[in-house]
């Protein structure tokens, strides 16, 4: 059953047709990768899913409900969490506070005027946040300022924050961009572990083919704003159209 259904989505920026006639269906509890050369429209598509952009045409359905016209926080409350290309965390806050915020957002909703209650009194939330940090092997860093951590740890924290909300769909935007090989492999292992242990659907946008082929069960190749092919990793590897799209890109780059 498809949890995310994208139908005929198009988006134009001035003279540039960034997306045209995109159809995409992400099956529940699967890992779906979206790959494509630079400028293929991957990020535009992602932004259309989370409410940052509103597509000109088409529909985006999440679990049978349209996400179009909803604000990012509303879409998140529906069960879609997003991990950014550069980790977006609360740098001025401690790691523990970073974890508490999504826990509270999950429990209390988009706004709660609880100026009289105490953070230290929210024992259930603290337990939940600590358990998450323990799972992520970050419990010893809980009093650290998030901004002071390494990039790999920031990424790990951001993923942990998204998971603390128990999302049904986790969107990852090039989660290993700019990472060293060791950090990349750690992230792959982490994502594999998440996939095995949770009922969660993962959609991932990625440049690094190593990451894509280690994780994805299904791959959509996007080129010039339209899906070229959608298939299993094995079949994508040898697909002539995919080779053409990527070779074309490398020739342009040279």
């Amino acid at each position: 059953m498809a949890i995310l259904e994208v139908k005929n989505v198009g988006k134009r920026f001035g003279g540039l047709q960034a997306l045209s006639d995109v159809n995409l269906s992400v099956a529940e509890n699967s890992v779906h990768a979206i790959i494509g050369p630079n400028g293929a429209g991957k990020s535009t598509l992602l932004n259309c899913l989370v409410g940052k952009l509103i597509p000109d045409t088409g529909s985006v359905m999440f679990d049978g409900q349209s996400v179009l016209g909803r604000k990012p926080y509303e879409i998140n409350q529906m069960g879609i969490s997003r991990v950014f290309q550069t980790p977006e965390i609360f740098g001025d806050l401690t790691v523990m506070e970073n974890m508490l915020i999504p826990c509270l957002a999950k429990r209390d909703g988009a706004f709660q005027l609880n100026g009289w209650s105490r953070v230290v009194g929210q024992q259930d939330m603290i337990d939940k946040a600590e358990e998450m940090l323990r799972d992520m092997h970050m419990i010893d860093k809980r009093h650290m300022h998030a901004a002071a951590m390494s990039r790999g740890d920031k990424r790990r924290l951001e993923i942990a924050m998204c998971l603390a909300q128990d999302p049904r769909l986790l969107l990852l935007d090039e989660p290993t961009a700019g990472m060293a090989r060791a950090d990349t492999n750690n992230t792959i292992d982490l994502l594999k572990q998440i996939k095995d242990e949770r009922d969660i659907t993962i959609a991932i946008i990625e440049h690094d083919m190593h990451v894509v082929f280690s994780l994805a069960e299904r791959i959509t190749v996007l080129a010039q704003g339209t899906p070229l092919v959608e298939d299993t990793p094995d079949r994508i590897k040898g697909h002539p159209k995919v080779r053409e799209a990527y070779l074309g890109e490398s020739q342009d780059a040279a």
């Binding site: 998140n76 997003r82 401690t94 508490l100 005027l113 609880n114 009289w116 209650s117 953070v119 924050m161």
Partner: protein
């Protein structure tokens, strides 16, 4: 105790002791000595310390936590003052209805201005609040003269109705008969200490305001406000709507300002438009940054610091300076007076400006950071430990704030 952590209880205790014993603490010099002019323990100035302390505590909830820099908070102070004086005019000299209306009106007014201004952030937000405050000032100064009495300022006349004023009640703002301008003086040797009803009335509000601020800082709501300052994008993608959080912080700080304005009117029952001018808004920004934005005690320290300078340094004139340097040869005495003259008396702003620059450059965390650094020098372990230890100590201190 009181739902506070040990450290916060200690901080609240320090504030309570300081405010209750302020008439002694601020009057360290005998009344007839040459240093008596540095005494700040007279009711008028002490009232200003605590009233502007309340104003700055409220401003800090908006600016210190969310990072939204409002340049228009004096407008809410002014609204509070006008509301309070109107209650004196219409009902009676009792301060309770005056303060209630001051807080409510300032809250409504800040909800309106906040709702519009918070559609933008950063410099655009600051400019919007500045524009609204200047509009309010001009309205109060000219257009709304029937309500504000224009440039004369709103005051109480014998012809005012005062429907609830009883015959034997004092004809000055009072709390069920205890007039705000009444005081007792204690003579102790060469020292004189003045205890005024008005000061202690304000001090109680400062303590309550400070306690409420601690509760907000340590609440999930306060944590969300700090998250707004840190990363709004992540907040939106964590299912949190930032707009009501910032608006709530704006209205709370507006109500603090309204309370401060109401108290100003209760201490001296008149309200003028100049209270809403942008320089007044700028002053509370200075107080907060000077003391330490985002810290609990900082704004109170900043308010006290600036009000002390305004009132004490401004009183040092050339005669006083000549008195100080009288022991020097004539030529040298005149030279010293000429050098110091621009920095005192009417030039106190110059000294304040220099101090402000020094603080911002060398102590970005304000006076509170200065205190922390001093504390660290005394605690040798922290200062001598390796860089990792020092970092941890810094984070510990920041977390403790």
């Amino acid at each position: 105790m009181l739902g506070l952590e040990k450290r916060d209880t200690l901080l609240l205790g320090v504030v309570i002791v300081l405010t209750l014993f302020a008439p002694f603490i601020l009057n360290p010099f005998p009344a007839d000595s040459g240093l008596a002019q540095f005494n700040a323990g007279y009711p008028d100035l002490m009232q200003r310390f605590v009233i502007f302390g309340i104003f700055a505590i409220g401003f800090n909830i908006l600016f210190g936590l969310t990072g939204y820099l409002s340049f228009g908070h004096a407008a809410f102070l002014g609204v509070g003052s006008y509301s309070a004086v109107w209650m004196f005019k219409l009902l009676s000299y009792n301060v309770v209805p005056a303060l209630v209306l001051a807080v409510i009106m300032a809250g409504l007014f800040s909800a309106l201005i906040g709702f519009i201004s918070l559609r933008r952030s950063g410099i655009y937000f600051s400019i919007l609040t500045l524009a609204f405050a200047q509009m309010s000032f001009n309205l109060a100064y000219s257009v709304l003269t029937p309500i504000t009495n224009g440039e004369t300022g709103l005051q109480i006349y014998t012809s005012d109705p005062q429907y609830l004023q009883s015959v034997d009640a004092p004809s000055f703002p009072n709390l069920f008969g205890a007039a705000m301008n009444s005081s007792t003086t204690l003579f102790f040797g060469d020292w004189t200490f003045t205890f005024s009803v008005g000061y202690y009335f304000c001090a109680v509000f400062l303590i309550l305001a400070f306690y409420l601020a601690i509760r907000i800082f340590r609440s999930p709501f306060g944590m969300m406000l700090r998250a707004v300052k840190s990363n709004q994008q992540r907040m939106n993608y964590t299912g949190l709507n930032t707009r009501p959080y910032t608006l709530a912080a704006f209205v709370i700080s507006g109500m603090y300002a309204g309370l401060a304005g109401g108290l100003l009117a209760a201490m001296d029952p008149l309200a003028g438009a100049e209270r809403m001018q942008w320089t007044a808004s700028g002053e509370v920004v200075l107080m907060t940054i000077l003391g330490g934005a985002g810290t609990l005690i900082g704004p109170v320290l900043g308010a006290g610091f600036i009000k002390y300078f305004e009132n004490i340094f401004a009183k040092i004139n050339d005669n006083v300076l000549h008195g100080w340097f009288a022991f020097m040869p004539d030529g040298l005495e005149d030279a010293m007076v000429a050098i110091i003259h621009p920095f005192v008396g009417k030039g106190w702003h110059l000294t304040l400006g220099l101090l402000f620059m020094l603080v911002v450059i060398f102590l970005p965390g304000g006076l509170v950071e200065g205190g922390q650094r001093l504390g660290r020098v005394f605690r040798r372990k922290d200062s001598n430990a390796g860089s990792v230890e020092a970092n941890a100590a810094k984070q510990r201190n920041e977390a403790a704030e």
